[in-house]
Every structure is written in structure tokens, then in C-alpha cells.
């Protein structure tokens, strides 16, 4: 393998060991109740007390899986939104897609019996609703970068207001209020995982299929149409795919923000990566980011546990300002 090969694929090559380390840390990090060697012994077949077994298989493993799924899904959703709108500041959090999904999940919880499939369907409906709302507002007001972000902020505030109303009037509708609004992976139940996992898998596969067309957006709508892409339909499908991914994630981790902003913009530092490679990068790096954040927040302050979303906001807000200053907010969607 030539030097250039490694240089061009350094984010992928670096992402594999990173993800392996993140998975290991998430599964085997010790705390006051259980040590790393006890957990390791369990996996390597030396057995262990039943309590450890339960902790590992019922609590650790689902949580690790959920972290990885949310990290990958939200990063991929962010990448899709940024490419579809040619706007590096777009992400499921900022565009109000996460909060739309969250609001609809709580609303569905009030109106219907608690079925996981229904939760996911409601989340998708909410995510799509927000995306369409942002799109309609931005379409009316001119598709500039600033307008898209501002209409996202407006829709996000509206959805958050709805969520807060439900949480105030019916406090019992959310078990962990702070965790839900900040994004947390504490208390994940195994039964919660299969449907979102399937949806995230389908979403990322769909994104792989949409990727070559997404690649043409940057050339401008007219050029892309001339090359044989149905630009409007493809852009809608891309946003819908992002909504599906975000919705599935919200069902697992609540309103976890900034993942979809940080990861794709970091990958963008490596020029010339195709969208398919960037998607792979999102899976590796996004998964790692959430795994590390979650592991840190539950081990650092043991026996207390802070939501992973708190750390992500602390890191993510400066990152948002950095992207803003580097790329600027002016400029239309296409030159």
C-alpha cells in the first residue's frame, strides 16, 4: 500500500482502532461496583458471580450497542443534511429534527399504549414533520445558510416548547426528564434496541445507495439535473433518510445533540473523501464519540452519572462556533 493510500484513507484507517478502543472502554470500564478484570473474566470464560453477568449482559452490552447505534446514526444524519442543503451548520439537533421526533414520541406516549414500534413510528413522523416545516419556511424565505439555521432554531424551539408542556402537565410521561432533554443512554433496556437498530441499519444502507447522487449536489442543481439526477426528488429522499436515522436515535438516547455536527465536519478536514467513505467514517467516528462520552460521564463521577449529552454540548458548542467562523454563514445554498 502506498503512502497516498494511507493518507487518503487516514480517517477510515484511524477510525477502526478508535472504535475498537471505544467499544472496549464502554464494555469493560470498571467503577466502584464492578472492576474491569471481573467483566473481562466473564467474557473470556472464567465465569463470575451472577450479578456481574446481569450487569454485563443486561446493562453494559445493550448500552454499548445503543451508544454505537446513536453515534453512527446521528453522524450519518448530520452528513446527509449538510450535503443535501450544502450547509455545514445543518444537523439533526440544530434543524429541530431531533426535538420534533422527541415531541411526537411523548405525544404518542400520552395518546397510545406503550409499544416500541409505535414510539419509532411517532419519532419518524415528528422528525419528518420538523424537516418539512424547516424546508417550507426556508423555501419561502430564501434558502440561504443563515435562513436554514434560523428556521431550524425556530422549529426546534416550538417542538421543545411542546415537549416541555407535556413534561410539565404529565411528569410521569418521561422517566428521566434531564436525560431525555439532554440526551442520555442510561437505563437502556434490551427490548428497546431491535427496532431502532433495524431502522438505523436500513437508513445507513439507504444513504449508501443515495450517496453517488448526493455527490452531485455540490455541482449545483442545474448541472446535477443535466447529469441525469432528479435533483428535487433526490434531495427530499436524502432529508427523509436523515429524518429516519435521527428518529431511530431519539428513541434510544433522547435529544442527543451535536454528534451530527461534530463528526461530519471533522471528516471534512480530509479532502477528496467520497460520500460513501464519509458515511463509513460517520459509523466509525460517530460510534466512537458517543461511546467515549457515555463511558466518561458514567465513570468520572461515580456513583453519580451525568448524561452523555452534557459533555457533547460542552464540546459541541465551541465546535459549532468554530465551524461558523471557519465557513461563514453567508452565501446561498448554491453559488
Amino acid at each position: 500500500m502506498s503512502w497516498n493510500f494511507w493518507k487518503n484513507n487516514r480517517f477510515i484507517a484511524g477510525g477502526v482502532p478508535l472504535l475498537a478502543a471505544a467499544l472496549a472502554a464502554s464494555l469493560f470500564a470498571g467503577n466502584g461496583a464492578v472492576s474491569s478484570s471481573q467483566l473481562w473474566g466473564l467474557v473470556t470464560g472464567r465465569g463470575g458471580p451472577d450479578a456481574i453477568r446481569v450487569i454485563f449482559y443486561q446493562i453494559r452490552l445493550p448500552r454499548t450497542a445503543a451508544c454505537f447505534l446513536c453515534g453512527s446514526g446521528l453522524s450519518a444524519a448530520g452528513l446527509l443534511l449538510q450535503e443535501a442543503l450544502s450547509n455545514p451548520l445543518a444537523s439533526p439537533g440544530i434543524m429541530g429534527i431531533n426535538s420534533g421526533a422527541g415531541f411526537f414520541v411523548l405525544l404518542a406516549g400520552l395518546l397510545f399504549p406503550p409499544i416500541y414500534l409505535l414510539r419509532n413510528a411517532a419519532a419518524f413522523a415528528g422528525a419528518l414533520f420538523s424537516a418539512v416545516l424547516v424546508y417550507l419556511i426556508a423555501d419561502r424565505a430564501g434558502m440561504s445558510r443563515a435562513v436554514i439555521v434560523l428556521s431550524g432554531v425556530a422549529v426546534s424551539s416550538l417542538m421543545t416548547a411542546g415537549t416541555n408542556t407535556i413534561m410539565t402537565l404529565r411528569p410521569e410521561s418521561v422517566s428521566d426528564k434531564v436525560g431525555f432533554s439532554m440526551g442520555s443512554l442510561a437505563g437502556i433496556d434490551v427490548r428497546q434496541i431491535p427496532v431502532p437498530a433495524l431502522l438505523i441499519g436500513v437508513g445507513i444502507l439507504a444513504a449508501f445507495l443515495l450517496a453517488p447522487g448526493i455527490e452531485l449536489f455540490v455541482l449545483g442543481d442545474e448541472t446535477a439535473q443535466g447529469l441525469g439526477l432528479s435533483v428535487k426528488r433526490h434531495r427530499k429522499l436524502t432529508v427523509a433518510c436523515a429524518a429516519l436515522l435521527s428518529a431511530a436515535c431519539v428513541c434510544l438516547c433522547g435529544l442527543l445533540g451535536f454528534v451530527g455536527l461534530i463528526v461530519p465536519n471533522t471528516l471534512r478536514l480530509s479532502e477528496g473523501m467520497s460520500i460513501r467513505k464519509k458515511l463509513l467514517g460517520c459509523v466509525l467516528w460517530g460510534g466512537s464519540l458517543v461511546l467515549f462520552c457515555d463511558t466518561l460521564m458514567r465513570t468520572l463521577f461515580y456513583p453519580y452519572e451525568l448524561p452523555a449529552g452534557l459533555l457533547l454540548s460542552l464540546v459541541g458548542t465551541p465546535f459549532f462556533i468554530f465551524v461558523l467562523m471557519r465557513r461563514g454563514i453567508r452565501g446561498r445554498r448554491h453559488d
Binding site: A211, P212, G213, E215, L216, V218, L219, G220, D221, E222, T223, Q225, G226, L227, G228, L229, S230, E271, G272, H334, D335
Partner: protein, 251 residues
């Protein structure tokens, strides 16, 4: 051959261009002449499927509106006037020309790579295919996008002012390339507001007067119709004593 009849197109119900009849033939370069805002670009956009149109448009006998975006792109390539200075290698840009021809996986095959290589050689960019498009001069950028359109391998090319923003040497280079392509059988439609150049480089010309297309005339007849030229373009042509074009502008 592309045939238009009672063709009209515009934005949001407002008709910006009407064409009674027009035929674009393989092996020929047709020039669309008109002032800014006369509807030249609207015509090209409508033929590409970016805007809806009324009337009939047939491409080698097939109704244009019945083709999917990909099917249309295999037969008809379009290059808009505004080309983004994208941060992308020239080779990657040219490879995007194959989009409509790729299989479901959208991975380039051997034949696709060969078509891209040919297009890059043709436009003189093969040696510099790793350079980034946003670092190129205006003329090089135009050629890079032309390479993309050539890789598309469509029998018809619609080019919106392919030369207007370039210096004169680059303009002549591009027009020579288009002439060569026509000689090889491509049907080419270009828009322009450069009278002497269009008269010299095109086989036939269509004048567009504020959204209404005149009947197509041979390029050699263009200079003879002084009054109409003056009405539509504001200037006319007179034979040149010497120079690169056989006609010069007359105020």
C-alpha cells in the same frame, strides 16, 4: 435529431420563451443568439428537464417528457452558464459525467474509466487530472466541465454560453473543440450574445427577440439580414477586411 413544435417554457406559469419550430441536427452546431434575458437559457433549461414546457419536443422520435432524468441524460448533455468552482479533482468531476450510465451500485467500470480518460485527453486535462477545480483559471474550469459533459457520451450537447466568460484565446479553443465534436457527429446547441463568433462558428443560427424565437437560418445568411439583427441585438454585422472572424460588429 431534436424537434420542437409550438414549444414554450417559463417560470411559474409565465412564458419566457416560445419556439414555433426548431430542429437540432446531429453533426451541426446551432447558435441561439439573443440579448440578456431574452429567454436563451430558459430554452436550454426546459430541454434538460429543469423547467416544465408546453408543446412538443421530440428527441430522435421519442417524446422528451416521457424520458426519465437518467434516460434523458444519456442522450442529451447540458452545461449551465454558472459553473461552481468546486473543491474536487478534475478527474472526479469528469467521472461524474458517467452518473446516468452507471449500474445500480454506481461504481465506475472499465468502460466508464476509458470514457472519462478519453474526455480528459480530448480537453487536454489528462496530465493535470489531479488538480482541484477551484484552483483552475476560468478557461481551465470551462474545459474541466466540458470534459464532464463529454464523458457523459450523449449525442446532443446543450451548452449555455460556453465561451462568454473566457478570454479570446480560450474562446477560440473551446469553439474549435465544439466544431471538431460536431464533425464527429454530435448535435450541438450553444447560446451566445457574441455575433461575429456565432456567425463564424455555427452552422445555423436562431435569433431570440424578447422570448420569441425567429425561424432558424443558416449562419451564412445572418449578416445579410441587417435590419432584423439590429432590431434583435441592437447591432449588425459587416464583412471584415481581415481578422479571425469573417464579420465584425457594426453599430
Amino acid at each position: 435529431m431534436i424537434e420542437l413544435e409550438n414549444f414554450s417554457a417559463g417560470y411559474g406559469g409565465e412564458v419566457k420563451i416560445r419556439v414555433e419550430t426548431m430542429v437540432i441536427r446531429p453533426g451541426r452546431v446551432m447558435g441561439i443568439l439573443g440579448r440578456n434575458g431574452s429567454g436563451k437559457s430558459t430554452l436550454l433549461r426546459a430541454l434538460t428537464g429543469i423547467l416544465p414546457y408546453g408543446g412538443t419536443a421530440r428527441l430522435d422520435g421519442t417524446d422528451l417528457s416521457s424520458l426519465s432524468s437518467a434516460e434523458r441524460a444519456k442522450r442529451l448533455a447540458f452545461l449551465p452558464q454558472q459553473l461552481s468552482p468546486v473543491r474536487m479533482e478534475i478527474g472526479t468531476l469528469a467521472a461524474h459525467g458517467r452518473f446516468a450510465r452507471l449500474p445500480f451500485s454506481k461504481v465506475l467500470g472499465e468502460a466508464d474509466r476509458e470514457a472519462v480518460r478519453k474526455a480528459l485527453v480530448r480537453t487536454g486535462l489528462w496530465e493535470v487530472r489531479h488538480r482541484k477545480v477551484d484552483e483552475l483559471s476560468g478557461g481551465e474550469k470551462q474545459r474541466a466541465y466540458l470534459a464532464m459533459v463529454l464523458a457523459q457520451d450523449a449525442p446532443y450537447l446543450l451548452l449555455d454560453e460556453p465561451a462568454s466568460s473566457l478570454d479570446i484565446a480560450c474562446q477560440i479553443e473551446i469553439m474549435d473543440l465544439l466544431r471538431d465534436l460536431a464533425r464527429e457527429g454530435k448535435g450541438i446547441l450553444i447560446t451566445s450574445h457574441d455575433l461575429p463568433q456565432t456567425a463564424a462558428c455555427c452552422d445555423s443560427v436562431c435569433l431570440i427577440d424578447r422570448g420569441l424565437a425567429d425561424p432558424v437560418v443558416p449562419a451564412s445568411d445572418l449578416a445579410g439580414n441587417r435590419d432584423r439583427l439590429r432590431q434583435v441585438m441592437g447591432v449588425s454585422l459587416v464583412p471584415a477586411e481581415k481578422g479571425i472572424y469573417p464579420y465584425v460588429l457594426d453599430g
